[in-house]
Amino acid sequence: MKKTGQILLLTMAVTGWMSVTQATPLSDNECPQAANAAFRVIYENSQHPEQTQVVWCYQGDVAWETPANGVVQWWHREPNQQVSMIRLFGSEQRGIAFESTDLRILGKQVDAGSLTTLAGDGWVIRQKDSQTETVAARFAQWKQWDTVDFADIGDMEADPFIRKMINIGFIEDNHVTAYYADGQPIKSEHGHHH
């Protein structure tokens, strides 16, 4: 994919280091922890419609998927209301799990209530649906992928998956949630939001 620089940065609403501007809230910007809570929203870049982002909600869990490279960030609200996150890599069908403490250390704490809000200019909703079976199947598929704990990465330098994720810059680019197919982060030509 050509890095045009026209694509806008997607951010998650991270407490402390970045505020959201010109958010595009969904009509129901909560993903309730209910058995029948399931929806999918497909966003497209108004300037580059081939670039899409998909926000998934299922029973309180929220996932952001970048179809171009298969990277997914799947947030889960713990019983104590803290949020953990798994970053999944479709090409490898593996993921890295971040406990709430890891997110705190890394400065990636999130407000669970804001996760269904896609931030950034130029993103418009192409499609929204609530087919529970489709959504459930997607989450069930991701659940089958093997994960490693972020806490263990320091002892896994010999693992080819970890090495690959390191080499393409996925492990710790905290502030970016959208990537080109080669793993490089999509950057905003408008700068960032403080």
């Binding site: 250390i105 492990i171 960032h192």
Partner: protein
Amino acid sequence: MKKSTLTRGLLTLAIAVATQSAVADLPEYQKSSSWFTDSQTLLQQKLQNSREQKAVKNVILFVGDGMGVSTLTAARILEGQQQGKTGEENFLSFEKFPFSGLVKTYNTNQQTPDSAGTMTAMMSGVKTKAGVINISEDTLRADCASSKGKEVSTLLEMAEYQGMATGVVTTARITHATPAATYAKTPERDWEYSAKGDCKDIATQMIEFPIGDGIDVAMGGGRRNFLPKEMKDVEGKSGKRTDGVNLVETWKSKHAQGVYIETQAQFDAIPAGTKQVLGLFNDSHMRYEADRANDTAGEPSLTEMTKKALSVLKQNDKGFFLMVEGGRIDHGHHAGSAYNALTDAIEFSKAVKAATENVNLDETLILVTADHSHVFTIAGYPTRGNPILGLVVSNDKTGSAQTSPVLADDNKPYTAVGYQNGLGYADLGTTTDADARYNSGALGGRAVDLSSVDTKSSGFHQEALVPLQDSETHAGEDVAIHATGASAYLVQGDMEQHQIFHIMSRALGLSKSE
């Protein structure tokens, strides 16, 4: 009076007389200085240290994972400062032990080691490759076939053969490399819940432990490695096992009188007289000590687990072997978070103290060491009592503390502690310059101005010179070992890590040749 005791007494007297006569000529302000008198007292205490070989009934091996010497120094200062002192004069509990030494940590194939190879050295008496647990060095990592016939036995196994009680306590997963090296044999440390070829995964090896009556006390994290993938645990987390086996149920059926626990409440309710305990308190690693209160089902501290393990193991008249690991010191450092590493090291020190208070040191040897170090440094010239997690405030030309942080040549302040490599600076607090992080995940060097940043907060991660996107790394220098109790004198000088096995086996009389 024994000859050795008499000799030591005469030597003490001679030194005391000589010291007094020489000291008499020193200025009064020197002789009366607390620095002077305190160190005289410490010397006298050293002279009383026993070098007699006593029959050792019990051995406790404490391992601070990744607890290098700089971690000891910083943790002791932080603990002292938490008590309202300047900090530098503080001692961690085990730093007051009478004997200590340095330990060389390399693996057979790595200058800077990992926990699998180093703990194998301590538990078996032979070094091996990084990533390999209790298989000799001529195996290939992660190659099951090449590991066959090359398994080595561990001190815990030898203790079980003798009918002793055995225990493993950790804040990491109980199947993680360090605890696993007490009981398992595998060419790949990551085979915690599944393995390749006809090798068995580590969790299975723990539950099927074939010697004696099995491991009597096992407490830590890693519950998911014992449960089927389809099953959710008490905290709603899924198991990892793909073979459908529920190893918790297997353990319960093998140990009908044993107690299986998962929560703080269950831990607190372990009946007196219980002789076998399996405690799995988290699906993965247990919480950092600083974060323990946030656990859903509640977790005991390392100190609490140590005390409980001792109360169970001490019931065996033949003695016990217990390994206690502070497993998350390592993880705090890997994440570049000195706060979490140091607060876990302080908790580790408290666990050691609890052990000394709950055993008879005339018949118990306690060793405290680390498996390896980390690239963690204490730098600059901070003034006495400078917050160890703070910015460096130096002294002026008169040697008095300045009032503001010293600036480096880039006109920015810097922290006293930092890392040689790793993720680098990240701030969790107020708005920072996020631009710098867009270009690279890891921020090496001097990316930001820390003037207005609270570097002492629990979420601050220190600067790192060399940016590494996966994590900060282990370091290759020696680690410390401290010893107290019966036969503690065997620990002294520079040692190879595999000597630790021989010290323990000799002390317990498990190896007649020694």
